[in-house]
Subunit: 303 residues, 2 copies
Amino acid sequence: MQSTPTQQRVSAYLNQLQERICAKVVALDGTDFKEDSWDRPGGGGGRSRVLTEGRIFERAGVGFSAVFGPQLPPSITSQMPGAKDQEFFATGVSLVFHPRSPHVPTVHMNYRYFETAGNDEQGPTWWFGGGADLTPYYPVREDVIHFHQTLKNACDLHDLAYYPRFKQWCDEYFYLKHRNEPRGVGGIFFDYQTGDFEALFAFVQSCGDSFLEGYPAIVERRHEMPWTEQERDFQLYRRGRYVEFNLVFDRGTTFGLQTNGRTESILMSLPPLVRWVYNWQPEPGSKEAELYEIYLKPTDWLA
Amino acid sequence: MQSTPTQQRVSAYLNQLQERICAKVVALDGTDFKEDSWDRPGGGGGRSRVLTEGRIFERAGVGFSAVFGPQLPPSITSQMPGAKDQEFFATGVSLVFHPRSPHVPTVHMNYRYFETAGNDEQGPTWWFGGGADLTPYYPVREDVIHFHQTLKNACDLHDLAYYPRFKQWCDEYFYLKHRNEPRGVGGIFFDYQTGDFEALFAFVQSCGDSFLEGYPAIVERRHEMPWTEQERDFQLYRRGRYVEFNLVFDRGTTFGLQTNGRTESILMSLPPLVRWVYNWQPEPGSKEAELYEIYLKPTDWLA
């Protein structure tokens, strides 16, 4: 597949976004990322950056990839049957940060762009997808509001309908059906966005840029708060939900594993240390119960 | 759905098998199981027994269930399309033991029986499935041989073709495609076995009974060996593969989550504490490398 100008422009932006976010994290944490560049046997490749055992982050992974191949994988064609047997190009940046402190939320962000060779029956021949969501352990309301507000600001620059629509999509997507629980306090999520390329590319750039306004401020506010062993245990326990979501439901993980992606890069979103406790329930009235009762409910945080 | 005599006989056997195995574990470990009985809103229920923070076992879970409903879940009908919209009955016993010591292997065993209401197009209206497999961290060849030999002895009582066929099926089923790795050193696995009910029920009983001959002897041999922190870390790291297999590939887990089973009972197979390390590789010539090079390869252990 020949590389097109749109492919080059989007992958250049996402590549730079990886650089800018990593630079910000290094400034916060004082620890450097290790970098692995890799080639995909089927076509394309990527660059994974992982920070391990930092001062603030127990693990922070930021992946960039630009891959292509002769046919879209089942994770896409199951949702878009007309696009079967299509040549495709996909580029994306994806990150998950697992902080050491239970007072600092885990965060995920991913923006991606697809092109297919196209035929008469299928739907769009290109689309954007992505989003960002926050998963706190001991949430603070002003942090949740700040995270959502930066995403709303980015959306509102382009279309006032975007934030409410993509916020709801996020609540629906990052949901653990077998637990009847959202993954965290949400953010935005969208997929299969096509139409005016320039307008959508500008929107995705606003979203990507806004990450630097949103999450780092929360880290700065919370990372020096002391924590107890019990709070740490709760964080390790809740990280289990992150693993369950990513391995059972997440579209990016499924896409990666189905396209014979680089397993270590796909699974670098998993937390470094995780605890499962059989049939654990929070004590009524505790901070842990508050997470479930107040924060793990779809809520209009900016109301 | 009316309970049939075959349903009653099989679930009585599996229920007793849960009792016998738990009694053996209590005798080994000195710690009692906690028991939860539960009802499934859609029909039926079960009894989960979990031993936590024992002397030998960090977690040991043994579940029994007998459930029914108006239609088989997609995890079955995807493999047996004729059986769609069938009333079904399913009973099973399932266990996973996670020992504290990296010198004691993790073990899994599951035997199950299905009945459907039946129609002209579908395949069998009843079938057995199940198996047992061993996942060592620092394997000892005689333990692997002992485990396989007890399973072969059980198989050989019924059909000399069973052990080689079901051993290969196990190697194929407990395989992490995204890692190009088997889960452990295998055992036996079979599904959709139908035909002569009495012969197959007797075979499943031999298999179930053989568990008591196989795994406990390995525990007795190894649980008092001292271990290092590095060996413990390797165990926690390898437990990550168990999580990946169970959440991404395992048919029992998928069946449970799709039938709105009791999540805590389905996921009690997950290890209590797990570590993921980005891009970890064993040192050449180490005991850890030996696991990958010698034991994580489909091998005829009884040759």
